[in-house]
């Protein structure tokens, strides 16, 4: 389903915060702050997760010279049960809050809703984004890190990072959201939670295709189509799917993936990065800054999410996946 935003809500300010290990990221110079402590001085990983979200939102408000009272909505989500890190951050922020769960696609689904609220005139300033903290998410979905379980080469590394954007009225000097596509939930029967990239690629393909079709565009109309966390293997699958259409080989260069690039070629991170904070921290730092400098004129950000729970995969259920997209132009 493609939604057009004729008033072109703008990204007024961004804040991206990351953990100590993310200093290794190729995007590290674009982040606003890198913590030396993976728990942000808190007692537990989950409390650190919450603190990280607050810090990112504080940076956003500081950049825009706003106080918490000035912000109308806080739209965010994470991957922990019942999203307590985000809920607890919202308690401290004291901004009207709706928790959103689209797994790792929340970075974009939150911006779509923020843009809708802005378009309706219901919101002057809305903060949208997502976050993930490695240790907390590993415990949630796989094994506690203390267990030291081995991971296969297709596994991806959940990032410790948060990315938030302030969405408001159109400003011709800033990146603006012109359209969004809410993805369907796709399921090709993949049951391996250590191979999410492969499971999510068809969802990304479907969302990109629907968006291009409804907008009467080709992939060449974009300077960049960046998926969230397909990883190295998932990105290959996505490119292969587009190679079967009429897209030429050199045109496939337009596709990039935040997760595949996040940690560079470091093999310690297997197939690349993942997590709700992966796409959020790249979109709302590197991409926003590149749009502002004019390197990109039109980009399609396609955040991908695997909608599983530890219980669903233990019960042998396959992994349903989704992808949401926003089209951003400069000015």
């Amino acid at each position: 389903m493609v939604i057009l935003f004729p008033s072109k809500p703008s990204i007024l300010a961004c804040g991206a915060v990351a953990g100590p290990l993310e200093n290794k990221s190729v995007f590290n110079s674009y982040f606003d702050s890198i913590s030396e402590d993976e728990r942000w001085g808190q007692k537990t990983n989950e409390q650190g997760h919450s603190k990280m979200i607050q810090e990112a939102c504080d940076i956003v408000m500081k950049k825009a010279d706003l106080k918490n009272l000035d912000v109308d909505y806080f739209l965010s989500g994470d991957l922990v049960n019942q999203m307590t890190p985000t809920n607890f951050a919202a308690r401290e922020l004291a901004i009207s809050f709706i928790g959103l769960f689209s797994a790792c696609a929340t970075s974009v689904s939150s911006v779509i809703i923020a843009s809708l609220l802005t378009e309706l005139g219901a919101s002057e300033y809305a903060i949208a984004g997502a976050a993930s903290q490695h240790n907390a998410i590993e415990r949630q979905f796989r094994y506690p890190i203390d267990y030291g379980a081995q991971k296969p080469a297709t596994a991806q590394w959940t990032v410790t990072a948060a990315g938030y954007a302030l969405i408001g009225k159109h400003d011709p000097k800033l990146p603006s959201i012109v359209a969004g596509t809410v993805g369907k939930v796709m399921d090709y029967g993949d049951v391996n939670p250590f191979h999410m990239g492969g499971a999510m690629a068809p969802a990304a393909y479907d969302t990109i295709n629907s968006h291009l079709k409804k907008r009467h565009q080709k992939i060449t109309d974009y300077d960049l189509i960046m998926t969230g966390d397909l990883g190295k293997i998932g990105l290959k699958i996505l490119k292969a799917m587009f190679a079967q259409t009429d897209a030429k080989q050199e045109e496939l260069q337009v596709f990039r993936d935040a997760g595949a690039e996040y940690y560079g070629e470091d093999e310690a991170f297997q197939a690349g990065a993942s997590g709700a904070g992966c796409s959020a921290s790249v979109y709302f730092s590197y991409i926003e800054q590149q749009l502002k400098t004019g390197r990109f004129k039109r980009v399609l950000l396609v955040a991908t999410g695997a909608l599983l729970s530890p219980m669903s995969f233990q019960q042998g259920e396959s992994i349903p996946c989704t992808a949401h997209a926003i089209e951003i132009t400069m000015g």
């Binding site: 290990l21 200093n23 290794k24 993976e38 490695h134 240790n135 890190i145 081995q150 296969p152 310690a268």
Partner: protein, 122 residues
Amino acid sequence: MVFFSFLIAFIVGGLICVVGQLIMDVGKLTPGHTLAILVVAGAVLDGLGLYEPLIDFAGAGATVPITSFGNSLTHGALAEAEKHGWVGVLTGMFEVTSSGISAAIVFGLIAALIFKPKGKAN
């Protein structure tokens, strides 16, 4: 010939671990499944009278891997069954293995008290 017995222990122990790695990587099973399969395999092998000869042959190569825990379960059960009949099967199972289980609990507790798990270092 001491060196030779070290070599055999190394190879046999390594091969048991290769089986475990294959169960995880090729069989796509979890570490929990792998553990259970190896314990059961050790128990069955001892029931067939094959594990003791393996220990005689490979020493620590056969006693250190988790398969030896299964071996001890069967061993204890059979030994007690001879003495006390069917009830011995139940009491005997943990007779030989109780030291291993207790050690795991005690050392686990000590480690949990002293250390705090952290993520990957920079």
